[in-house]
């Protein structure tokens, strides 16, 4: 069944076309800008919902045109893509609301929202890329679109962060280019296809295939913040809160993790990758990242840095799930793609609210903030507990599957790893909750003097996402829940 192939294109274009308009709008046209932002974001959610429905009915969307002889620019909406697009579309909508509130009076709003849109367009492109070549194009676009967001504040620190970010990610992009080229030269195609496209190469030239794996995974690993390519992520924390939220939850690190999925599942094919002996090292790398990120997180006092290291750790769950080469773990990995996004975006938005409303930026300043900003902190707490992996919250579901997948794959150490990681998660999240809820704020004169009203546009988004954290965990088994969809995807990737 094939229908009009242009629906993916429309979805891409919604934000791609919004971007120049937003750039061109004068700084003062705030209402119009907000209108366009929200309108387009909502439209996108609707389109994605429609697309998802169609895809679940078995419709295949495929739009492509030739860019270089033999090489196509190809958009394709498969279930895996839908998984990622839905995340980005929904969170974009929420983050847009948040950003509008956050940047209410800030400078350079036209620029910000222009790049913001571009960033989402790039994410959607990454999701729907039908071959590695297209993926590469959007991957680089994402880098470029996020750079101005990272340095939005225009301070020395922001610029330094931006430079490091740029160098890491562009170097990663360059390696990806190398890998894409190598794939093209070796296999004669860069298409994504469940089961992989490299079978012949593997039999002919095992070493080349192995090196290709290293190159490709290393390249996307930069964005996925795999240790030792993670250093940019905590530094990029100087960005405004909505940007951090987007970076961590939807766009950049997810693009990396998603890339790992595409590479392992659809370039190599999981069996091939396993046969190459590459999944175990990848799993080991993910494991190291998980532990390392958590260990580093414990020592951070800056809230956003702590969250950033937590991201380093959490995103590698996805990699781990992919690398375990078990369908059950894969379900966990894919589900975590969504779940981590929801949890982390909640926490970043909450952190942004703390900074905005109370000027609290460090963990050591968090005493008593729960009382000052109960809604925000409730959201934060929900997400934090979900991260630790408490049922029925989102994080539990993915951890459960990862653990089961580890057993399924005969890798019992995964349990120990998850155990250790969760312990560390608890070690760095619980003190925050402790301070927020069980300590009194320093300034006791008067009734919560530091308390400042934040607008609903700031308050509502984290609460919304926290509810979603609750919902995707609590109704994990419901039809069209991320988990269900994930099972659908995994069935395809494992060609069951």
């Amino acid at each position: 069944m094939t229908e009009t192939p242009f629906l993916p294109l429309f979805i891409l274009l919604t934000s791609l076309l919004a971007s120049p308009i937003l750039f061109a709008l004068p700084e003062s046209a705030a209402r119009l800008r907000t209108g366009i932002n929200l309108g387009v974001a909502a439209l996108k959610v609707a389109l994605v919902a429609w697309l998802g429905w169609k895809v679940s009915q078995g419709v295949i969307y495929d739009v492509s045109f030739t860019m270089l002889p033999g090489l196509e620019f190809k958009l394709q909406a498969d279930p895996l893509a839908i998984l990622f697009i839905s995340l980005s579309a929904i969170l974009w909508l929420i983050t847009t609301v948040y950003s509008v509130g956050y940047l209410e009076r800030g400078p350079h709003r036209a620029r910000f929202f222009g790049f913001f849109s571009l960033c989402v367009a790039a994410t959607v492109g990454i999701a729907m890329a039908g071959n590695l070549f297209t993926f590469l194009i959007f991957y680089e676009l994402l880098t470029l679109a996020t750079y101005p967001l990272v340095i939005h504040r225009g301070t020395a620190e922001a610029l330094r962060a931006g430079r490091i970010y740029l160098i890491y990610t562009l170097a990663g992009g360059l390696v990806l280019l190398l890998g894409t080229l190598a794939l093209w030269v070796l296999a004669g195609t860069t298409d994504f296809s469940p089961g992989g496209v490299l079978d012949q190469v593997v039999t002919e030239n095992r070493l080349a295939a192995q090196m290709l794996f290293v190159v490709l995974v290393g390249a996307v690993g930069v964005k996925a913040a795999l240790v030792p390519f993670h250093a940019w992520l905590p530094i990029a924390m100087v960005a405004p809160a909505p940007v951090s939220a987007l970076l961590h939850a939807v766009a950049v690190v997810k693009a990396g993790a998603f890339g790992i999925m595409r590479v392992v599942y659809e370039v190599f094919g999981i069996e091939t990758a396993q046969a190459l002996g590459m999944t175990a090292p990848l799993a080991a790398m993910a494991a190291i990242t998980i532990l390392y990120g958590s260990l580093k997180a414990i020592t951070q006092d800056d809230i956003k840095k702590r969250l950033a290291y937590s991201t380093v750790s959490q995103v590698s769950y996805i990699t781990l799930g992919v690398a375990l080469a078990s369908p059950i773990a894969a379900i966990g990995a894919l589900a975590h793609l969504i779940h981590q996004g929801l949890m982390k975006i909640t926490m970043f938005m909450a952190a942004g609210n703390l900074a905005e409303g109370l000027g609290v930026k460090k963990v050591s300043q968090m005493d008593g903030v729960g009382r000052a900003m109960p809604g925000t902190m409730l959201a934060f707490s929900t997400a934090a507990l979900a991260m630790i992996g408490l049922p029925p919250l989102a994080g539990f579901v993915s951890k459960w599957y990862l653990a089961q997948g580890g057993l399924d794959a005969g890798a019992g150490w995964v349990i120990a790893l998850l155990l250790g990681s969760s312990l560390l998660n608890a070690l760095y999240f619980l003190p925050m909750l402790h301070r927020a809820w069980f300590r009194d704020g320093k300034e006791q004169d008067g009734d919560a003097p530091a308390k400042q009203r934040i607008g609903w546009m700031l308050a509502a988004p984290p609460i919304t996402t926290a509810l979603m954290v609750l919902a995707v965990g609590g109704f994990a088994n419901a039809p069209f829940s991320p988990l269900e969809w994930t099972r659908f995807v995994v069935a395809i990737e494992y060609q069951e």
Binding site: L68, P69, I137, E140, L144, Y147, L159, G162, R163, W184
Partner: protein, 480 residues
Amino acid sequence: MMIDPLTLSIFVPLFGAILTFVFPRVATVSALLAVLGTCGAVFVLALKILAAGEVLVPLGGWAPPLGITLRADGLSVAMLAMTALVGLLVSLGALESLRDLRQRQYFWPLWLLLLTGMNGVYLSTDLFNLYVMIEVIALGAVGLTVLSGTREAVRAGLEYMYASILGALLFLMGVGFIYLQIGRLDFAGLIAAEASGATSAALALMVVGLLLKTALFPLHFWLPAAHANATAPASALLSGLVVKAALYIFLRLSTYMPLPDETLVTLIGALGAGAVLWGGVQALRTERLKLLVAWSTVVQIGLIFIAFARAGQAGLTESWKAAAVLILAHGMAKAAMFLAAGRIKDEVGHDRIADLDKSEIRPTLAQFTFAIAAISLIGLPPSLGFIGKWSLMEGAMAAGYWHWVAVTMIGTLMSVAYFSRVFAGFLRFDRMRGELSEHKGWALADVAPLTLAAAAISLGLMAAPILSFIELGYPFGAAP
């Protein structure tokens, strides 16, 4: 009554030059008309090429080797088109940025003569004619280089002049050897020639002469100062177009004449690598914006030569395409970047990179243009520069020439590093002394480079048609 478009594309700018020189009062109008006319001629020519593959015009009715024949094929028309497009937009940009009346009075005739020379180069099939043409270009280019009249500009212009003359003379000497050996100077004769001592000598002389003119490392010594000190439109023309003429001749000759040795190809690639690395290092440490852009030209030229050498001697039948794409990409992006840099310098009042962030004036659009142009120069998708780099690396990989891949990657990283110095200057706001003040806003001088930069980016999406277009007429005689 129809005059063939080849002739027109040379004569229209020539008459334009004459008119603008004789009637300075209407110089602007006549110059724009001439450039537009050239564009039209090139467009008609492109249509003809699409239909016929190649077009020959034996001037004077004399067939080679006695006469000189103009020949157009896909590659030459692509170069013509790029030149026309860049030329048109730079002309539009120059309308505003050249405020000094006397500067403008000389800008137009010199630029139109330059255009004449370049179009002549792209259509020529005769070695000696090429020599004359590069001299036309050289004089026009030197005149443009010193247009600003500052001491640095004149000094750079003189150095450029020396290099230009020497390069041309080396070329001429090579022409002498060729004539000595085969008694004719047309390309067909070259193709038929057997390798011999004289052709080798000729090749050595001509190649080095051309490398000097195109400023390949280590013969780049004249370029950065010349390009950096010229006024913005002149810089754009010099960097975007002028160096390409010699490059184009090199491309033609190296495939028409027997390059008897793999070592030579490797040497050229190695020089390209040197350019990429050395230019990159210099761009990293330079203190002025325009100088940085000029060093980036050195880098890009190096990259083009790597593309040329990417797959060794055996790969030349394909490698030229990668080089050609990079030439086209660089032409547009670099012109845009120089124009943008000029705008920034005009509005901010200086072009010291370290102090860009102290300025209260931020020419946003020019900065944006600079950034997009940088995307193509760095070679990020989907720009044309990316396509060029892709082709380069693809060929090198397929041939197993990993060293070129490595150099390209290092060069890319370095370009990110030095361009991000500039971006940092654009986007940092905490060093300003006062409030952000309004800059002049939209202007024609902003639109022109923006269009160019956008073209450099978006043409990457049309890479497939472009690649098939430059193959029309089999520029290097791949198939009958």
